[in-house]
């Protein structure tokens, strides 16, 4: 499998706290990796660094080609815009038909709430919107930060189904999660972040 992104001695510090300490990792096309670890160990930080949303403190991240990222944040923000309008605009940006957004809204059981403003939605519904916006369009890498947070069982099953479809299409999946079911069902390998280092579960070797 071709390498899409290479992390070389990546370090990230927040003031005096070193969250990620000289980590190196190759991310390959169509690979699915689950990052696990205690709260605050740097899982979300790692995903954001990979997406280029936050600056590195050291090292470098090499993207071997132009990469389109999809991102499901840990907490999707409740903003003052209707779900239908937001997802319709995102569909427009991604160059997909609005009907694709409508279909995802129905699949995730959000049809009755499509005219509701995001800040009026429940936590689980808001997270579903976060998932839907990431599923719209054609991405090379999908970054999932605790994507199932607050979601009902039926929606979780729909989510798993959609991710399997993306994997079949060759999309690289990088997720930060705690759910064992998600890790076992979706990931090729599990990497634990501990004291700023990566521990690859499969081989039980430090990942750098």
């Amino acid at each position: 499998m071709e390498t899409l992104i290479t992390l070389e001695n990546v370090t990230k510090t927040y003031e005096d706290l070193c969250v990620l300490d000289h980590i190196s990792l190759d991310l390959k096309r169509a690979e699915s990796i689950a990052f696990t670890g205690h709260n605050g160990c740097g899982k979300s930080t790692l995903l954001k660094l990979i997406a280029g949303l936050i600056p590195l403190s050291g090292g470098k991240i090499v993207r071997h080609e132009k990469i389109r990222f999809g991102y499901v944040p840990e907490k999707f923000p409740g903003m003052n815009i209707r779900m239908k309008d937001y997802l319709g605009a995102i569909a427009g940006i991604e160059g997909v038909e609005a009907s694709e957004a409508d279909a995802l809204v129905r699949d995730f059981f959000l049809e009755p709430m499509k005219n509701t403003k995001l800040h009026e939605l429940s936590k689980g519904s808001l997270q579903k919107v976060g998932v839907i916006q990431a599923l719209l369009g054609r991405h090379d890498v999908l970054l999932l930060d605790e994507p199932l947070s607050g979601q009902d069982t039926d929606s979780q099953n729909v989510f798993l189904e959609k991710i399997h479809e993306l994997r079949d299409r060759g999309v690289t999946i990088l997720m930060s999660c705690h759910e064992r079911k998600l890790i076992e069902e979706l990931s090729d390998r599990e990497i634990t972040i501990e004291q700023g280092k990566l521990l690859c579960r499969e081989s039980d070797e430090a990942g750098s």
């Binding site: 936050i54 389109r68 907490k75 003052n80 815009i81 605009a89 995102i90």
Partner: protein
């Protein structure tokens, strides 16, 4: 060509999201109230001079631009903006959409401030010392609009991504005060001549007008051009800084 079209299309969709976020937003209500209060105070005592009325409105619009832009960027949610940046796939589309929203708000406020005197002069004949001519409205509207842009870019320059909000407000006020006083400073201290380049030309039109009540078209055009250049430079520097500091830490 396809790439440019895509950028334009994405800019439009991003702008649509931002515009819808502003629907029934308290910022609009407060802004309209402030404009109403200003117009009520400004046009309370006849007779009023045509040109100076417009130019005082332009100074007000400058400060309104600062207020609008600082409130807009204070209302930005980092996660929401990150997601938009990733979807946009083009920094140009993302930053253009921000500028478009700001420009739209300035345009709406400027239109109200520009046409109110004309409408008021029709409703209340004899309020102004002379009839308002189309040239007055054009010159006045141009100065008001571009003063708004200057204010918006000044306020937006101090974005929370690279400067704390309190410091941002202080710096915006400092620049504004210096801009208002620059004529006096330049006359007193020759070294302050550099302010002519770096400060927004908010009061230049008032200096040009002097005791007259007629706009000098070429002079106004040059001042508007200066305002446009100032806004453009501030916008470009700001975008460079925002690109460097994508995330507010």
């Amino acid at each position: 060509m396809g790439g440019r079209l895509r950028v334009l299309k994405n800019t439009y969709h991003l702008y649509t999201i931002r515009r819808r976020l502003m629907t029934r937003n308290a910022l609009w209500a407060v802004t309209m109230l402030v404009i109403a209060a200003f117009l009520g105070a400004m046009y309370s005592f006849p007779p009023a001079y045509v040109c100076s009325s417009y130019l005082v409105s332009s100074v007000f619009m400058y400060f309104l631009g600062i207020y609008l832009s600082m409130n807009l960027h204070a209302g930005e949610n980092d996660v929401f903006e990150e997601i938009l940046l990733l979807h946009a796939d083009s920094d140009a589309a993302y930053y253009l959409s921000r500028e478009m929203l700001q420009a739209r708000m300035c345009l709406i406020c400027s239109l109200i401030l520009s046409f109110f005197p004309l409408i008021y002069s029709i409703i209340r004949a004899g309020y102004f010392t002379r009839a308002i001519m189309p040239g007055d409205v054009c010159c006045g509207a141009a100065v008001i609009l571009f003063c708004g842009f200057c204010g918006a870019e000044t306020g937006d320059f101090f974005h929370p991504r690279f400067i704390g909000r309190r410091y941002g407000i202080c710096f915006a006020i400092l620049i504004s005060v210096v801009a208002l006083c620059k004529q006096g400073l330049m006359e007193t201290f020759a070294a302050f001549g550099i302010l002519e380049i770096f400060m927004p030309p908010v009061t230049d039109s008032l200096v040009l007008l002097g005791n007259s009540d007629n706009f000098e078209a070429m002079g106004i055009f040059l001042i508007v051009l200066h305002m446009f250049a100032y806004s453009l430079v501030m916008m470009c520097i700001k975008i460079l800084l925002l690109r460097h500091s994508r995330y507010r830490i």
